[in-house]
């Protein structure tokens, strides 16, 4: 019993302790000129879907959930966002060469087709970020069109 108590106290101290470790927050109220929505003529329904389902991790501005400041959740989010932005940042779209754009669009299509994006760990909480089959198809068709027009 004593051992359990000690472990509980250690865990509690550790949990409180890690709350003081700072994380970088991905927030910006400026949309740069290179943004995907600004340089492409994106239909409104697709704009909404991209915003809700992709922009949290693939842009410079995340709409954080309420628990985002609690560790270790904050770390987990920070990591995902960093990785997501390195792979593709919609805010910086127009700074890519046309080869890179084509390549990214192809990856977007593949990822949505295979149901890999948005991530399950993301849609688990953001229920509205999940694509229905029809929505996925609509987005894929539109992105394919954009790719072929480049």
């Amino acid at each position: 019993m004593k051992v359990v108590k000690i472990i509980a106290v250690v865990l509690l101290v550790a949990f409180v302790g890690i709350q003081f470790i700072p994380t970088t927050r991905n927030q910006s109220n400026m949309v740069p000129e290179t943004d995907f929505m600004l340089v492409n003529n994106v239909p409104e329904n697709i704009q909404n879907k991209l915003q809700v389902s992709c922009y949290d991790c693939h842009s410079n501005n995340t709409q954080y959930p309420w628990y985002n400041k609690v560790q270790p959740v904050a770390w987990f989010l920070e990591d995902h966002i960093k990785e997501g932005k390195a792979e593709l940042n919609f805010n910086e779209w127009d700074s890519l060469s046309s080869r890179r754009k084509t390549s990214k669009l192809r990856s977007i299509i593949n990822q949505i087709e295979n149901g890999e994006m948005p991530l399950d760990s993301y849609t688990l909480i953001h229920r509205d970020a999940k694509f229905s089959e029809a929505e996925a198809e609509e987005i894929i068709n539109w992105v394919t069109q954009l790719k072929d027009s480049l």
């Binding site: 060469s97 080869r99 890179r100 390549s103 192809r106 990856s107 593949n110 295979n114």
Partner: protein, 183 residues
């Protein structure tokens, strides 16, 4: 007598140092020439190294060998990084930099993905490598081959004109045709 000895010694010394200096100069020139030659060979050799890694990767995909393909993908990342484009024109350098950036990303993904993913990335990678060869050239004859079934039609490069399909492997080993011969 003593004077004579001294002057002979001095002459000898001078002669030795002149020869030595000359030899050094020659060595320097030889070295320079070697270096010049090596530079040329290096830039070619580095593009060939990229191609070699690409072909090993292709062969691994033909053999349905995910693990090998991942290893070859990682090697390709390294050979792409080692590619020195400084001997090309400014325009070519810009295009090569773009190609290398794109190809590196695909090779990185291939190094850490399952086979379906590896094949998806291999498609775009093949386009990048084909564009690279258009600039760098190659000492071997290459065949651009094409499979009309995979992802609405997909191409790849091979050193052999016989079809061995990297997109389907054993499922459809001989699906495709030679589209173009690159020399």
């Amino acid at each position: 007598m003593k004077k004579l000895k001294m002057s002979i010694a001095t002459m000898l010394l001078l002669a030795v140092s002149f020869t030595n200096a000359q030899e050094k100069e020659k060595m320097k020139m030889d070295h320079k020439m070697d270096h010049g030659k090596m530079m040329d060979m290096n830039s070619d050799a580095k593009a060939e190294a990229i191609l070699n890694d690409y072909f090993s990767l292709k062969n691994a995909l033909v053999a349905d060998d995910t693990k090998k393909a991942a290893q070859e993908g990682a090697k390709l990342v390294a050979s792409l990084k080692a590619f020195d484009t400084s001997s090309y024109t400014k325009e070519q350098q810009e295009e090569l930099a773009d190609i290398i950036e794109d190809a590196t990303e695909h090779a990185e993904h291939i190094a850490e993905s399952a086979i379906d993913h590896q094949r998806e990335h291999f498609k775009t990678l093949s386009k990048d490598i084909t564009d690279m060869v258009a600039i760098t050239g190659t000492k071997n004859t290459l065949y651009q081959q094409f499979c009309p079934m995979y992802d609405k039609g997909s191409a790849w490069l091979s050193t052999n004109n016989e079809i061995r399909n990297p997109y389907y492997g054993s499922r459809m080993l001989k699906c495709g045709k030679v589209q173009k011969t690159i020399q």
